[in-house]
């Protein structure tokens, strides 16, 4: 029991009237206060444990709101699960609560759910809905719902659709309690439920004899900004939950190799051929687990700044030769995150290599991430590294900072994509951090920018996840745009300042649920700059940045003189040229930009334009012609949609054109021969 004052809310009367409820509340508050002394002496009652079994800290690190105690039995034959869940919730909202919404995420995998409707409309990476197949059916059915002290409220449960009013969507359920839970009091829910997992969709479900169980238990919403925040499961949204403690018992067949969030505390073989494995998690807001008989586990330890971190790398046996590769990138990522942003406090990190061909690749849960590879993955293609780095990065932004992924997806996925660029470039090189094979290279910065540029003007970053124009727009803006916006910001305020700002943000807001303004203000505070001009356009707006070198021109100042006189002056090096450069802001994003004008004699002139007007002209009279003009010569502005028009040379340099034409000619010649081979 913690030293904190704990109030156990006893249910005294099943009274519904307003006045009586007030009296009851006062009475119950008094009763609760009277009980303090009793509790101080160790009286048992519902509470949130203050354990630190799973963290390298002697004190809890988060304000723990929930304690989930789940006992689940997995049926591997039909990929289903029966479980009981005891959820203890402490009302820290500062006001009485009589209504509790719960996520039932697995119900999203039903033909008329909002998730299926939206993914059928906009597409998803997992499945194309040409036809509905029963294997995609998933469900989360509550068999019994009891509130301790209030009795069985199963009949009071009601599906709600707070986002789209789709009455067929059953991904959120709500219970109205007969009496409110006063501030600071605890309430305990006892829930029996049955899960049917789909063949993997949205990184949860089965494939062959593999299972990844994510979003598998009834999870209470978050009281956030004065209201319940419990959105339906949408085609392009993720999750949001309160911090707490998890104790999960999993009963599974004995041949299964299991991995989960948190630390394993026991494993007992049962006479019926099953085993019961118990996990405990502290200061986490979700719990996922996986089983497969084909896992091989590489164990390693990372010496973190707060203590040792046990690394469990669970590889498909087919991919065992890549285990070291997985482990290495995980360690290198951990090192950089600890150096740059803050300590990793958990005692474990489990990296799961999911079943090949499953849609379970690339997902994050607290202390538990999935990678993604294939048995034929070339060494020069760093996709497994990219996925692992990205998912580990979520441990910080989703896992510990824990922003609202439904409403501010960019604050998790986007900030994480930015740190992905920084970390991957640091490990594998700026231009080769995704691919370096056969002379073909690709870097993270280019990848993020490419994601963004196709959807640059469709949506702002600050849009709720399910309200983006398209699935591509969600991805391009949330991941790509945020990354390039922050990369550009880094060049505005300086790399060191940006790193300090990110570290400050992480350390200040970890284990809270910060808002977008918390993040933006932190950057302004640390940098000491008013950056609203940038945030208003880049974060809150849909403005597109595209500057071009529109025209360059040079002619001799004595152009009107006889040709032989001009040639003589040219020969003597006395010819003077009047050159002009026209810079154009093509789109509506206004940003200052540097312009470098290079002359044939090697001289360089650097100009700085505030970009406020639509265009600017620079004119020079020099004894040399312009050799090239380049906007943003240090390549600070990653957000520019078109890099090809950022520079101009007066003469043609056709090497790239001929090179690509040669590639195309070779390819078409070969294809033509191939067709003729079989046809004529």
């Amino acid at each position: 029991m913690s030293n904190r004052i704990l109030i156990y809310y006893f249910v005294l009367t099943p009274d519904d009237s307003q006045g009586q409820r007030m009296i009851f509340r006062c009475a119950s508050m008094l009763a609760a206060t009277a009980l303090l002394s009793v509790l101080a002496f160790g009286q048992n009652g519902p509470s949130i444990p203050n354990t630190t079994i799973a963290i390298n800290s002697s004190q809890p690190m988060s304000q723990r709101v929930v304690h989930y105690d789940i006992d689940a039995r997995y049926n591997a034959k039909d990929h289903s699960l029966d479980a009981t869940e005891i959820l203890t919730y402490q009302n820290l909202t500062g006001q009485p609560l009589d209504r509790f919404p719960f996520h039932l995420y697995l119900n999203a995998f039903q033909p008329n759910s909002s998730w299926v409707r939206e993914t059928k409309r906009d597409g998803t990476r997992d499945v194309n809905w040409d036809k509905w197949e029963q294997k995609y059916y998933g469900s989360e059915e509550i068999k019994r719902f009891e509130v301790v002290g209030m009795g069985d409220l199963t009949s009071k449960l009601q599906y709600i659709q707070p986002d789209d009013n789709n009455k067929d969507d059953r991904s959120v359920i709500q219970v109205q309690l007969p009496r409110a839970v006063p501030p600071n009091a605890y309430v305990q829910f006892k829930i029996s439920f049955h899960d049917q997992f789909p063949e993997t969709l949205e990184r949860t479900g089965w494939k062959r004899d593999f299972l990844l169980a994510g979003q598998w238990f009834p999870k209470v919403g978050v009281w956030w900004q004065g209201a319940w925040n419990c959105h339906q499961f949408h085609g392009s949204t993720e999750f949001f939950a309160d911090f707490g403690v998890y104790d999960v018992k999993l009963t599974i067949p004995q041949n299964e190799v299991v991995g989960a969030s948190g630390v394993q505390t026991s494993s007992v073989n049962n006479p019926d051929g099953t085993k019961t494995v118990t996990y405990h998690g502290d200061d986490i807001h979700d719990f996922a687990w996986t089983v497969s008989p084909h896992y091989r586990v590489l164990e390693d330890t990372y010496q973190g700044t707060m203590g040792p971190v046990a690394m469990h790398v669970m590889m498909q046996s087919l991919h065992w030769d890549q285990a070291e590769r997985h482990c290495r990138i995980l360690k290198e990522t951990l090192t950089r995150f600890e150096q740059w942003y803050g300590p990793y406090p958990y005692k474990t990190i489990t990296l799961v290599d999911p079943e090949e061909g499953s849609a379970a690749e690339g997902m994050e849960y607290p202390t538990f991430i999935t990678g993604g590879t294939t048995w034929w993955m070339p060494k020069g293609v760093y996709l497994p590294e990219l996925v692992i780095e990205h998912e580990f990065g979520h441990q910080y932004w989703y896992g510990m900072v824990a922003t609202n992924e439904f409403e501010d997806a960019w604050m998790d996925e986007g900030i994480n994509s930015y740190t992905e660029v920084k970390v991957m470039d640091s490990i594998l090189g700026p231009n080769t951090s995704i691919m370096n094979m056969w002379g073909i290279t690709g870097g993270e910065g280019g990848y993020q920018r490419f994601q963004y540029k196709g959807v640059a003007d469709l949506d702002p970053m600050v849009r709720r996840g399910w309200e983006y124009a398209t699935y591509n727009s969600y991805g391009g803006i949330t991941y790509g745009k945020t990354a390039v916006v922050l990369l550009t910001l880094e060049n505005i305020i300086g790399q060191d300042t940006m790193r300090r700002a990110m570290q400050t943000y992480f350390m200040k807001y970890r284990f809270t649920h910060p808002t977008k303004e918390d993040f933006l203000k932190t950057i302004e505070e640390v940098s000491g700059q008013n950056l609203r001009w940038y945030f208003d356009q880049a974060v809150y707006g849909t403005q597109v940045l595209d500057y071009e070198v529109m025209k360059i021109q040079a002619y001799p100042v004595d152009w009107y003189k006889p040709k032989k006189d001009r040639q003589a002056a040219e020969k003597d090096g006395n010819a003077v040229y009047r050159s002009s450069v026209l810079i154009h802001r093509k789109e509506d994003f206004i940003s200052p930009v540097d312009v470098e004008v290079r002359f044939e004699n090697g001289e360089k002139v650097r100009e700085h334009w505030d970009g406020r007007d639509r265009w600017i002209r620079y004119e020079y009279e020099k004894k040399s012609k312009i050799a090239a003009v380049e906007l943003d010569p240090e390549h600070k502005i990653h957000i520019d949609r078109d890099n090809f028009n950022n520079s101009k040379t007066p003469g043609r340099h056709s090497r790239a054109t001929w090179k690509l034409t040669n590639y195309f000619t070779f390819a078409t010649q070969w294809l033509t021969q191939l067709f003729a081979w079989w046809l004529v």
């Binding site: 062959r208 004899d209 498909q316 087919l318 079943e355 090949e356 061909g357 048995w375 231009n431 995704i434 691919m435 056969w438 002379g439 073909i440 290279t441 690709g442 870097g443 280019g446 990848y447 920018r449 490419f450 540029k453 196709g454 090239a628 380049e630 890099n643 090809f644 028009n645 950022n646 520079s647 101009k648 040379t649 007066p650 003469g651 043609r652 340099h653 056709s654 090497r655 790239a656 054109t657 001929w658 090179k659 690509l660 034409t661 040669n662 195309f664 000619t665 070779f666 078409t668 010649q669 070969w670 294809l671 033509t672 021969q673 067709f675 003729a676 081979w677 079989w678 046809l679 004529v680």
Partner: protein
């Protein structure tokens, strides 16, 4: 293979002796492809030639700069691909048009005069168009069905606990499809050779006879074809390796030369296969026909030598 030890190398000599046709076809292929790429070259030039950003493609190959480039509206796929499609069909048409002359030359010991070449081409044009269409139908149907079956097998194996199984099944299926398609290719090559060598106006007769004789010599003829195809594949992969490893990224001319050598040898492989078909037609089909009619010598004149009948060398 052992049944016809004499076909592969004599066929190579036939091809080498008539290398001018190979060279002309190669030039035709190159010119048409260059023409097909001209629209792309113009579009690329407009974007790249005056931009410093193009250096990322000139002195290396940054995949995201390349994607950035090809996602531009002026480089939209259909606009740059359409000319290539037209010129591909032109190459196929010219192949149909000129191939009778090439086969006639292959079946002849002497150098074919220009008039004879064009006469053979003209005489056989319609026959070769019919052969082309029939081949297209048969090969198309067989390919579609076999690919469908292969795909279905792969999909059915998708849930197997052995993750590699679908890949290996698809690979084996692919090899089987390749062998079937190669057999069909050999069949129609022999039919084409038969049409030219015997001046057969009824292409159905040539197709029927070719099917019968190719069927009897399936292993040997298929072995020749497969060996040549393997040679082509090895040359292709080795050439790509040379290109990637030994040619610097900015060396456009060297890259062009390496690429063209690969393509010339690839085309040579196909002409080698055709020479095999001519040699097979000239020897096996004629010998078999003679064997069939041997008891009645008078009938041996039932197959009058055509004006372009091959006088097969001693090795054949």
């Amino acid at each position: 293979m052992n049944e016809n030890p004499g076909i592969l190398w004599p066929a190579f000599h036939i091809m080498a002796r008539n290398k001018r046709y190979l060279v002309w076809f190669y030039i035709l292929n190159l010119v048409l492809s260059v023409l097909g790429a001209w629209a792309l070259r113009g579009a690329l030039s407009g974007v790249l030639d005056n931009s410093l950003y193009s250096q990322k493609l000139a002195h290396g190959f940054d995949v995201f700069v390349f994607l950035d480039l090809i996602s531009r509206p002026e480089l939209a796929g259909h606009a740059v691909a359409r000319p290539h499609i037209y010129f591909t069909w032109m190459f196929i048409f010219f192949s149909v048009l000129f191939m009778p002359g090439v086969l006639d030359a292959y079946s002849s010991e002497r150098r074919l005069s220009r008039e004879d070449f064009w006469a053979t081409c003209g005489r056989n044009l319609w026959r070769f168009i019919r052969l082309f269409v029939i081949n297209l139908i048969i090969a198309g149907v067989v390919f579609a069905v076999s690919s469908g079956i292969n795909g279905a097998i792969g999909k059915a194996a998708d849930d197997s606990p052995n993750v590699k199984l679908p890949f290996y099944l698809q690979l084996i299926g692919g090899v089987i499809i390749f062998l079937i398609m190669t057999w069909i290719r050999a069949w129609f090559d022999v039919a084409q050779a038969h049409v030219v060598v015997h001046d057969e106006s009824k292409v159905r007769n040539s197709i029927r006879l070719a099917a019968r004789f190719v069927g009897r010599s399936t292993i040997s003829l298929l072995a020749c074809y497969v060996l040549i195809a393997v040679f082509a594949a090895v040359v292709f992969l080795a050439g790509l390796w040379v290109w990637v490893v030994l040619v610097p990224p900015a060396a456009v001319v060297r890259a062009f030369l390496v690429g063209q050598i690969i393509l010339f040898l690839w085309l040579a492989a196909r002409f080698w296969q055709r020479a095999c078909a001519v040699a097979f037609c000239a020897t096996r089909m004629s010998e078999a026909r003679r064997d069939e009619i041997a008891p009645a010598p008078i009938v041996s004149q039932a197959i009058p030598p055509s004006p372009a009948a091959p006088e097969v060398g001693p090795a054949l």
